[in-house]
């Protein structure tokens, strides 16, 4: 057996075979951590953006704060949170959500503010109320840009989840952490390749979602 796969091999396939259940479990945890972070980030970002658009004076503080959160190095943030919330899923999610906010808020705001003034003027002139205009005109038109934000946030989060291994909830990152500790390359490769695959699949899924939600951009112009 050892002859078949030398000790220098990057991946010991029989190790992968023996840890199939664990790999599946960690992959699901990875997806779960990402989905929760992006989901909560999305809800917060919509609320914050509506607030920024409705009350203009809140716009700068909102963009500034989400920018500052994005700027904190992830290691420092985990180090800061652990004494407060412990090495928990909550700690991991607080950090992950903070990193999604800037991209989501900025893309949603840019999308809404990019709606042509003529379209907004026409909506007002037709008798749309402000809230109805937002829901049926501005938001759908901002969707392509917003989904671009979701794509970036999701792909970034898939990568960041591996760092949450430091607080014991890192999905596939736990393999990387384990491999580094034991100086054993196989789990490192499993963690790295798995996380890259997830990022690529998520990216493709959002491209599809964008295509599905924006039929008006699909047709070729005459």
């Amino acid at each position: 057996m050892i002859a078949a796969q030398g000790p220098d091999s990057l991946i010991w396939w029989d190790w992968v075979g023996r840890h199939g259940d664990e790999i599946l479990h960690k992959t699901l945890e990875h997806i779960y951590l990402t989905a929760v972070a992006v989901g909560i980030g999305l809800i917060l970002a919509v609320m914050l953006s509506v607030c920024a658009l409705r009350f203009n004076w809140t716009r700068s503080p909102i963009v500034w704060t989400s920018g500052a959160l994005y700027g904190i190095p992830s290691l420092a943030l985990f180090g800061f949170l652990v004494p407060i919330t412990g090495a928990s899923v909550l700690t991991a999610e607080i950090a992950l959500v903070s990193y999604t906010l800037l991209v989501l808020v900025q893309n949603l705001l840019a999308g809404i503010e990019g709606v042509s003034p003529a379209v907004r003027d026409a909506a007002d002139g037709m008798g749309y109320t402000a809230s109805r205009r937002f829901i049926s005109i501005e938001f759908p038109l901002a969707l392509p840009q917003f989904i671009t934000g979701l794509r970036i946030a999701t792909v970034t989060t898939v990568g960041l989840v591996t760092v949450a291994a430091l607080v014991g909830h890192g999905g596939l990152g736990d393999f990387i952490n384990d491999g580094l500790k034991r100086n054993f390359s196989t789990p490192i490769m499993v963690g790295v390749i798995g996380s890259i695959l997830l990022a690529v699949i998520a990216d493709a899924a959002f491209v599809l979602l964008q295509w599905l939600t924006t039929p008006w951009l699909r047709r070729a112009r005459r």
């Binding site: 003529a118 379209v119 003027d121 026409a122 909506a123 007002d124 002139g125 037709m126 008798g127 749309y128 109320t129 109805r132 005109i137 759908p140 038109l141 924006t214 039929p215 008006w216 047709r219 070729a220 112009r221 005459r222």
Partner: protein, 347 residues
Amino acid sequence: MTDNSLSVRESVGTAPAISIRGVTKRYAGATNAAVDSLDLDIAQGELVVFVGPSGCGKTTTLRMINRLEDPTAGSIHVNGTDVTEIDPAELRRSIGYVIQQGGLFPHQSVATNIGCVPRLLGWPKARIRERVEELIELVRLDPDLLDRYPSSLSGGQQQRVGVARALAADPPILLMDEPYSAVDPVVRAELRHELRSLQERLAKTIVFVTHDIDEAIDLGDRIAVFKTGGHLAQYSVPTELLARPDSQMVEDFLGADRTLRRLSLLTVTTAQLEPATATTPPLTIEASFSLRSTLDALLANATDLATVVDLDGSVLGVITLDAIAQIASGDPDSEPVRPWAAPRRKR
């Protein structure tokens, strides 16, 4: 729905459709008023064109009618109701609004765009669909376009959709803000022609903003010439405006060939015709010709006489260069005429 107690539909006798009284609009931070103490009445069923150089307040005035802007001072009444007493969204649903390229919603199909005001008013789906089909016919568009998105339509088609959308809930008033400025001259002339004939049939009150004096003369029952600073320079029917501009500014704005333009608005029968004699001139002119076309024909044939005939060929009389000259030099009260349209409604 629109039969709300505060709706603009409640017309009061023959009062003006729109009455603007002492209206001033001053934007925050601006030293000069955009519109300055403006008084203007717009009669029911008239097509009034606001024309003037940029920054003259014509668009601002239009936008105050459906409360996209509110006046700093003065009042605007629509069919007898002060607009400030009506909820802005409610008011706007009862007034048609058309802007450049129609301002169509790019993410909605043509049908959804046209049905937007009825949807806001809560009409049942079947009724909206029926109305949309009616409208697409009214603006002469192919029903196959209903499921397309605006970006796949030509400029002229988009503009027609914009008009259909504005007419969807059958509003008595239509506001049009430089609607044709993004389409080419040929399509533009076609759209103007269609708007005219649409108005002949529907008898809407239309306020139309343009910076193009030719468009104003071509379209307007009445023309309001604005001058910089938000003042009304002159408010008259086109033939009178062309015959008697009451300031240098208006005269300059009308351009050098205003006499010829006025002749193009009058038919040959508005001139004093000589009785036909046994030897009628060989050149014949149809009664629907404008005086300008008649003049052109006379000059081209190097003659000063032509026989005027009606549609079935019977002779009405003889037109002379002198008779045209007489009209050109005076008589602004002659009835304006549009060669393409059915006889105008009497007002």
